[in-house]
């Protein structure tokens, strides 16, 4: 076995430039594959963080009629208690009761239609991480004369407002009457999605309920679950537990995001497969050329009594060694590349415009260590498969003819 490996190793370096070329191809192919996969994960993570984690949450509960008519009168009966119950479940991390209404926000010289979310600041911070998204001002800590509102950076720009500005919110109360109230901008939050920033404002639920005219209104419960992969299962359980509420998971709430992630995931798996197959065909070609150049030598090995199985193993070993060299070097270089780009970020061309659609303008690729091992295993499997045909060609040689070949 040792000699077999030794011969294989030396055979690889007989044509140094050819071996270096195929090893470089493997390295570049792997780097390309790893880069694609890491960008996909970064995009997925960014989408999740911005849309699911920071906005929608994994599951939402509403009054069934609220979906078509988002008005305060379609609220969830006993919403605060339900949210409290949900928070105590083992499969749920936190459940945030909200009062969500549509309204207008106005500064001294501009106004805009917005969705007003009345929240419990402490629970909301744990649900969407809103507190951490505040980049200017503070998060519901001030006890001033005017109640606080947290608005998006994009809306602040549009209204020409800033932390400390006074704004007026206008909305319908439970009787359908228009009511207005002044708020002071306590903080500005920042998300990748400019459209969310422009149309969503947060105020204390108690302030909103006071304006609406009912102290115990919950129109929406946002739920964060322990295992994000179980969102369908948990949503089904909650549907059974609360038959009067409309329970929807994030894939229902954000179908376009769900399908784009699905398509993206599928596409990138195919890109990875194509890259690995291209590398494998390159390997196959290299080994096949090497076999055709060594017909006489292989004939001698067979003639002197080296068993076909050993000759086969030698060819497979050559291919596997090339794949391992390229694979290990490629994975190390990919790891370095991802570490570097994970710190510096990868700007997306035209990223500024993408922010309006909820996409980040800079992605920070990252990969789990397990992925490197997985891709290495897949590469070695494909390399072994690629070696089968040349190895089979080698062992089909007739020694008597092969030794006489020029």
């Amino acid at each position: 076995m040792k000699t077999l490996i030794k011969i294989s190793w030396r055979n690889i370096w007989r044509n140094r430039s050819r071996s270096v070329t195929i090893i470089s191809a493997i390295i570049l192919g792997l780097m390309g594959g790893v880069f694609s996969a890491s960008m996909r994960l970064a995009l997925e993570q960014q989408q999740f963080e911005d849309t699911i984690d920071n906005q929608v949450s994994h599951i939402q509960l509403h009054h069934p009629d609220f979906i078509a008519n988002p008005e305060a009168r379609y609220h969830i009966g006993g919403g605060v208690e339900i949210a409290s119950e949900l928070s105590k479940r083992d499969d749920i991390t936190v459940a945030s009761p909200r009062t969500v209404v549509d309204g207008m926000i106005a500064s001294s010289n501009m106004n805009s239609g917005v969705t007003i979310k009345g929240i419990n600041p402490e629970i909301e911070a744990r649900t969407t991480g809103l507190e951490d998204l505040v980049t200017e001002g503070t998060y519901f800590t001030e006890k001033g004369r005017l109640p606080s509102v947290i608005i998006g950076q994009a809306l602040a720009n549009k209204l020409n407002s800033y932390a400390g500005s006074r704004l007026v919110l206008t909305l319908q109360d439970v009787d359908g009457e228009m009511v207005s109230s002044s708020f002071r901008v306590e903080g500005l939050y920042k998300l990748s999605s400019k459209s969310f920033e422009e149309r969503t404002v947060f105020i204390n639920a108690s302030d909103l309920n006071r304006i609406i005219g009912d102290n115990d209104i919950v129109t929406e419960i946002a739920v964060v679950i322990e295992n994000p992969d179980d969102y369908r299962k948990v949503a089904e359980i909650l549907s059974g537990l609360y038959p009067n509420a409309k329970v929807r998971h994030w894939a229902d709430l954000q179908p376009s995001l769900y399908y784009s992630l699905e398509v993206l995931g599928e596409a990138l798996i195919w890109i990875l497969i194509i890259i690995i197959m291209a590398v494998s065909f390159g390997l196959l070609n290299t080994i096949l050329m090497s076999i055709l150049e060594r017909v006489r030598e292989l004939g001698v090995l067979l003639a002197v009594g080296m068993k076909r199985a050993k000759v086969f193993s030698m060819i497979v070993a050559e291919t596997t060694i090339i794949a391992l060299i390229g694979g290990i070097a490629g994975l190390f270089m990919s790891w370095g590349m991802i570490r570097f780009l994970g710190n510096t970020g990868v700007p997306i061309p035209g990223g500024e415009g993408l922010e309006d659609f909820g996409y980040a303008s800079v992605l920070y690729p990252r990969l789990e260590t397990a992925f490197y091992f997985e891709i290495a295993i897949v590469l070695v499997i494909f390399a072994i498969l690629a070696s089968v045909y040349p190895a089979w060609k080698a062992i089909r040689l007739q020694p008597a003819e092969a030794v006489r070949q020029e």
């Binding site: 000699t3 011969i7 030396r10 055979n11 007989r14 006489r296 030598e297 004939g299 001698v300 090995l301 067979l302 003639a303 002197v304 009594g305 080296m306 068993k307 076909r308 050993k310 020694p399 008597a400 030794v403 006489r404």
Partner: protein, 248 residues
């Protein structure tokens, strides 16, 4: 003397062509232990086919090849691999060493396939390379050796594992005169010292003049089988010796 190889009515017909080619026709020959035999004849006379068939590289279409009491014509391919490995040494026209192995590794290679102990293998390989005058080239790869030196390594490789007999197909065809004589002297000496049966196919007169037995094939059949007393006829000078016997 012990019979090493015996062929009986050995035939080989290549039927893949429009007209079947009878490469061997009822060849009946015996080779004794320690014989130094040249198989001669014009191109297409069946020399290489004969060596391939008695070497287990090709199957006869008729007859028997009995080596050490075993008819290899009836062996399966997998058995033939093992048989070749343990009983036959090969020397090829184009040296055919393994280019990525050094001289000593090349000589050890067959013993390695036979799973011989490492120490024995190394000692024997070095001893053989010394015998062929390449003691100073142990760690040199074939690419750095001359044609004559490569063929001497090939001879050392073929004899190192002490096979029952060695088949050499045109071993001097690619060598200049000096290298060819040098090689033949070495082979003749090893034949005597190791008592290994050597069978050459050749149309090189230099080889024929050294052989103690010369078998001539014409159109696949034995045309003559002559023995010469080289011991008394100035072998080292490459002169033709006295014809002892002739059989047809």
């Amino acid at each position: 003397m012990k019979t090493v190889i015996k062929t009986t009515n050995l035939s080989k017909v290549y039927s893949g062509t429009a007209v079947p080619v009878h490469a061997l026709k009822n060849v009946n020959l015996e080779f004794k232990q320690g014989e130094f035999t040249a198989i001669v004849g014009p191109s297409g006379s069946g020399k290489t086919t004969f060596l391939n068939v008695i070497g287990g590289l090709d199957k006869p279409t008729g007859g028997h090849v009995v080596i050490d009491g075993v008819d290899i014509a009836t062996m399966k391919e997998s058995q033939l691999f093992d048989f070749r490995l343990r009983h036959i040494g090969f020397v090829f026209q184009a040296y055919n060493l393994i280019p990525v192995l050094t001289a000593v590794e090349n000589v050890s290679f067959i013993m390695l396939l036979q799973n011989r102990p490492k120490a024995e293998m190394e000692q024997r390989a070095k001893e053989m390379l010394e015998q062929v005058g390449l003691a100073d080239k142990l760690d040199v790869r074939p690419g750095k050796l001359s044609g004559g030196q490569q063929q001497r390594v090939a001879v050392a490789r073929a004899l190192a594992s002490r096979p029952d007999f060695v088949l050499a197909d045109e071993p001097t065809a690619n060598l200049d005169t000096e290298s060819a004589f040098n090689l033949l002297d070495i082979m003749a000496r090893l034949n005597r010292e190791e008592n290994i049966t050597l069978i050459f196919s050749t149309h090189d007169q230099r080889v024929i003049e050294r052989a103690r037995r010369v078998i001539t094939l014409v159109d696949g059949a034995v045309a003559s089988d002559e023995y010469f007393d080289r011991e008394t006829s100035g072998e080292e000078n490459g002169q033709t010796g006295q014809v002892m016997t002739a059989t047809l």
